[in-house]
Symmetry: C2
Subunit: 384 residues, 2 copies
């Protein structure tokens, strides 16, 4: 199989896993997509956060929203310091998350950092006005001097729909139409456009214009095949949220994206793929599991209840944290190995962001996890 | 008259002008409003900016938007450092201003500052969704640990209306309705509301909640009497934009606000008044005028052309910069004296923010102006 062993990674930093990755039998190779290794020499690692309310088990108290925001900014500053590639902020409109206004949080982060890329994870475009979204992210791009990625999606939760007076029956058309308008605004300062879900534009200018031209706009997708095809046809980079199941099951969908992109004439380097996954790193696999399980159980119990699923068990936690599961949990070697393996299973990806949100994770533990990800894991998955 | 002379101010810092101020014949005193001196012992000074594009005369080139944003953040950091009370960011949707997304800019400013209050100047509420506005400013309040003032208004320019598909025929009802919703959201986490200009809310929660409870919401007004009355009846603090004419002419309107507030049963300390005026401070009156005039002329020529007014002249500039004009320009003594006098003419105000936006003002000159405002002018207008 050519699969890298833990022993090989244990040899230390600077080892490039990329040749191994490309030696693997790629699930996409037999489906007619030629993989050009020259543009897939590194997996960039990042962190995503939903800025959840946290009950700090070490302090025995709930961290209030202002303190939580201060902690978040320290986390982002540390991610920048340890050389991580990106930090993303989600968007939710619920009492247990403090991320209803991601561009505002990202601006504070931009002022506190120097190199790290900052982005949404994801901005719920369906419920927003693309003019405002572009204005906010272009402003962010100015503040950060070109470090912004705007990742747009339909969102995993649905609470934005009633809050902004939208119907779930328009779930698809809202996103499609608003993405179309967003791309038009990116393309041209003055826009003429009309659609069903937003008043028309008749040549108005949208300001400011960003530093990056074009401002990177990624499409955030879950498991809907049509979403992968749409992103490919548009030639937009793809951010795949993998929050359950086995990551390798996404290979056919990622392939679908690449084939759609190739058929539409987009160059392979334009068809970047990123993954958004749950994960956490600690000194040992046992410490990682013990630190994460209480919050994982709380979070997934809540979501399962809302969505009518069975409550999660410790056995499920162990399975999802295992070699083929969707949770990237463990010591640096284990996580690095899994990241490289999953990237290979999906034909080589450009970025992976670990979502470390956990309502029972102490600030110090999260900082340590970020530090390990940056100092120990990232060098092992980065190309030379 | 008890009017402070320049000679008295020239004696230096620490001189409290407040007793003089209260000795003046107040234009409001004869109209039945009792002024309680105990809650009006200081005029807090701030700076407002529209983040205009700048052609730097010393460098002979246009400052690009990313560099301009960096300069702005340096200006705000300096305002914080020299002890100014507040910094406000406008909202425009035009090519020559970079402030279409004020909460994003303010968040970066919050991360760069420690004490200064930050706010909008003004947020164009008529064209926005109050849910989003509250979410953004509550997030800002968390990031800044309670240093936010949300000043909402209808805006002086009208370009937001076509951009967001709104009709100027709804100019009044849009603002009134959205202000009503904004106040409901501030009052209660869960909101039930319906209106003409925004989909209804049926008990949805709006998050996050701010540090300050209540989040300060000011009403920004121009010269419309109804706006003064509305703010007074609601018991909301009032920010008066004085961009032309003579400030003392606003006395009857400010009095109208106070009378409306008193009649509605609001305590005097709740009925704060702030002024937003154009201004600039330099070492000498001559230097201030020479530095400011080219940009003033450019800015007002453009606005006059758009609004069908005659082009401005140097004589108008000199008049507006004089003792009774709306432009607070000059050396520290002159500006301090004028600020105190105008405050007195309006019955004593709580805050005055100098809008220093000028498309021909070099960054170094603007920094110097902020420093003089904070170190020289502010101590002369502050109560002991």
């Amino acid at each position: 199989m050519g699969r890298p062993t833990r022993a090989r990674y244990a040899a230390g930093q600077g080892l490039s896993p990329v040749p191994d990755l490309l030696d693997w039998p790629s699930p996409t190779a037999s489906w007619g997509v030629a993989i050009d290794p020259s543009w897939r020499t590194a997996v960039h690692l990042g962190v995503d956060s939903f800025v959840s309310a946290v009950f700090d088990p070490s302090a025995g108290r709930l961290i209030g929203p202002a303190e939580r925001m201060e902690h978040l900014l320290e986390e982002i500053a540390l991610a920048d310091e340890v050389g991580l590639y990106s930090f993303g902020i989600g968007e939710h409109h619920r009492s247990e998350y403090y991320d209803s206004a991601p561009p505002v949080i990202l601006a504070a982060a931009a002022a506190r950092t120097a190199r790290i890329r900052l982005g949404s994870a994801v901005a719920v475009l369906s419920a927003a006005d693309p003019v405002r979204v572009f204005q906010q992210f272009a402003t962010l791009d100015l503040i950060s001097k070109g470090r912004i990625d705007l990742v747009v999606g339909r969102g995993s939760f649905t609470e934005a729909f009633p809050l902004f007076g939208l119907s779930l029956a328009d779930y698809d058309s809202l996103f499609e139409e608003k993405l179309d308008l967003l791309l038009r605004i990116r393309e041209s300062e003055h826009v003429t456009w009309s659609g069903r879900h937003r008043p028309p534009l008749t040549g108005q200018g949208v300001y400011p214009r960003p530093v990056q031209n074009p401002l990177p706009i990624w499409v955030g997708v879950g498991g809907t095949p049509e979403s992968f095809v749409r992103a490919g046809l548009l030639g937009l980079p793809l951010m795949v949220a993998i929050i359950g199941g086995e990551p390798r099951q996404f290979a056919p969908l990622v392939d679908l994206y690449r084939r759609a992109g190739a058929q539409a004439g987009h160059a392979p380097e334009q068809l970047q793929v990123g993954l958004h996954v749950f994960g956490f790193v600690a000194e040992s696999a046992q410490a990682a599991a013990d630190t994460i399980y209480p919050g994982w159980h709380e979070m997934f119990t809540k979501v399962s209840r809302e969505r009518g699923f069975a409550a999660p068990s410790r056995a499920q936690f162990d399975a999802t944290s295992g070699p083929d599961g969707a949770f990237f949990l463990g010591d640096p070697d284990t996580v690095a190995e899994k990241l490289v393996r999953v990237s290979g299973q999906l034909g080589g990806v450009d970025r992976i962001s670990l979502q470390m949100t956990n309502p029972r994770l102490a600030h110090a533990d999260l900082l340590r996890g970020i530090e390990l990800l940056g100092r120990e894991v990232a060098p092992r998955v980065a190309g030379s």
